[in-house]
């Protein structure tokens, strides 16, 4: 069965963004080593799963870059833009006009665990989740992530948004791999323990 993979930037103190969504604490001096890690993570993916809050910004950001084939990010932007997206929202109806702005996307608005189950039951390659924080919090709450890739940035930010606070019970994980990269990021890869 296809996997749901989470790729998330985090500070050492476990925040995924500052209180107002700040991202200035992240390391962006990425070397070939971490670029390759992300490429390996993305290659077996044919679906991007996003929460409603992140969808608009994510799609328009990558769409903008695809307009300039000379941009160094163009090849990756092309993948991000072209890959079919599933947007989760409980509040939106399938006829909401905002959906027209979300290229290559479909909306799902049912019970989160049921929607993920159905998505995984369809044939296809892996599904990747990039956020936002609230949506990911709910996925973790219901243990719907099959593979965690936590990108631990070498900074302590003191306060901000987290993805773990909805979890009501302990969740034991199994370490798959810990990889340190030249930019100072360590990626911790876990599966839920069986």
């Amino acid at each position: 069965m296809r996997k749901v993979k989470l790729q998330m930037q985090m500070s050492i103190d476990g925040f995924v963004a500052g209180p107002d969504g700040e991202m200035d604490w992240m390391s962006w001096n990425w070397g070939d080593d971490i670029n390759k890690y992300v490429a390996d993570l993305t290659t077996p993916v044919d679906t991007i799963l996003l929460g409603r809050n992140m969808a608009g910004g994510f799609i328009s950001h990558w769409k903008e870059i695809t307009k300039n084939p000379d941009d160094p990010q163009y090849p990756f932007a092309r993948i991000m833009y072209d890959t079919p997206k599933v947007i989760f929202s409980k509040k939106l109806s399938k006829s909401d006009p905002v959906l027209k702005e979300w290229d290559n996307s479909i909306l799902v608005n049912g019970i989160i665990s049921e929607e993920i189950k159905q998505l995984k039951a369809q044939p296809g390659k892996d599904i990747i989740v990039y956020g936002g924080a609230n949506f990911v919090s709910n996925l973790i709450r219901y243990n719907l992530i099959d593979e965690y890739h936590l990108f631990i940035n070498p900074a302590v930010i003191g306060s901000g948004k987290t993805i773990f606070k909805e979890r009501e019970e302990r969740l034991n994980l199994k370490l798959i791999e810990a990889t340190a990269f030249s930019c100072g990021i360590v990626v911790l890869c876990y599966h839920p323990a069986q």
Binding site: R167, E169, Y190
Partner: protein, 187 residues
């Protein structure tokens, strides 16, 4: 100047204990103890909060005398008995205690003084509340975090009173066979 190094077990979601102080999720074994052995070799001072100190002091002074003492028990007990112990407390008094220095106030000044003295590193094991006091003044020079493969959901956070963002340098990351990952960060 010698360094103040904090050694801490944490969950993936950044807690050092559950909401009621639970620590049953912390995994230690010989591989990790051996690793910690390198750190004690480079340190001649231990720093504790009052609660952790009393827990430590109930066990380590005589841990080597136990007939079933492990190699690690003997090593750490010897180290514990030989180092100066600095304890944050408003209730303990220095006179009755052996090789102990009590800090009850002026944490920033007192720690700076100790750091400025000659000697090896100052090592801090556990002691979340004391660590939070140190963070307020950005006094921790190095972190050794042992990340246990669990999400606790709630509990006592490792980081608190962090007023400004702290950019750190990654020293090393090491995965242990148990699934614990040791992360070393420096100021």
């Amino acid at each position: 100047m010698r360094k103040l190094i904090l050694c801490m077990h944490v969950s993936v979601d950044g807690f050092v204990a559950g909401p009621n102080g639970e620590m049953d999720w912390i995994h230690v074994d010989d591989e990790i103890f051996d690793y910690a052995g390198y750190m004690t070799d480079d340190a001649d001072t231990a720093l504790y909060g009052r609660v952790t100190y009393q827990m430590m002091d109930n066990y380590w002074p005589t841990a080597a005398d136990n007939p079933n003492a492990s190699k690690h028990d003997i090593q750490h007990s010897t180290w514990y008995n030989s180092v100066e112990k600095v304890v944050f407390s408003k209730t303990l008094s220095e006179s009755k205690l052996n090789n102990i220095r009590i800090i009850s106030d002026d944490i920033n000044d007192e720690i700076q003084k100790i750091k400025n003295r000659n000697g090896k590193n100052i090592l801090m094991f556990g002691s979340a509340t004391a660590a939070h006091s140190l963070m307020q003044y950005n006094l921790i020079d190095e972190y050794w975090l042992f990340v246990n493969p669990v999400l606790l959901g709630e509990g006592i956070p490792l980081f608190k009173n962090v007023n400004d963002k702290i950019a750190l340098k990654l020293g090393e990351a090491r995965a242990f066979a148990s699934g614990v990952v040791g992360l070393n960060y420096k100021k």
